[in-house]
Symmetry: C2
């Protein structure tokens, strides 16, 4: 399990992206599409300035992962999820899954990263 | 091993902070000072806009961990490193350790976080 960090500044969001062994192996070897069984998790946090760090540095430079906002999963099963590019999507906020309307937005956006099997996040070695 | 992400915007740096079991246990339980044997690693990457992601989103919002810049470690051994608050420091760039002059800068800065046992990064659950 290895992370890939990214940040969405105007959404004030930090993400750490984790993969199970199947996903990380595919990431490392550049295998596309990801094989069935790959699971990718994205842990999202608020993008928060660190006042205590900035006090030490003497200037505003440090941002940290603040409160958790949601946890998302993508699970590869090319038969079960054939209608959505082979990926099943999940979204949890405060431990509760999102409703169907919300979930309909996942695939159309991720499908724009079709050349990378719907996965935006690249591997950070 | 769990991560804690932070970012230093004006240094254009992304960090993922990892701990061994001793360190993460102390993080989770809020134990201060960290016990001997705790090891904390900070993986630093350049803070890079993602043009391919922004193209999909239709606006400039996405930053990712770019090229790795350095890897740093803090190792707790209260007798061996008594002179520097019980922490040994290490810094590697392209797999090579930093020289002695560079290493002299670690402790004075981290010592400003004395109330948190010299560790700036907080735990992101």
């Amino acid at each position: 399990m290895v992370f890939v960090a990214h940040e969405e500044a105007s959404f004030n969001s930090f993400a750490a992206v984790l993969g199970n062994d199947v996903a990380i192996k595919a990431y490392r070897e550049g295998t596309l599409p990801f094989p069935d069984g790959a699971i990718i998790a994205s842990l999202h946090y608020s993008h928060t300035p660190s006042e205590e760090n900035n006090k030490v540095f003497g200037r505003s430079q440090s941002f940290i992962a603040g409160a958790p906002t949601n946890v998302q999963f993508m699970v590869k099963d090319s038969s079960k999820y054939a209608a959505t590019g082979g990926w099943g999507f999940a979204h949890f906020k405060d431990g509760k899954p999102a409703d169907d309307d919300f979930m309909k937005t996942c695939f159309p956006c991720h499908n724009q990263a079709k050349t990378r099997d719907l996965i935006f996040t690249r591997y950070a070695p």
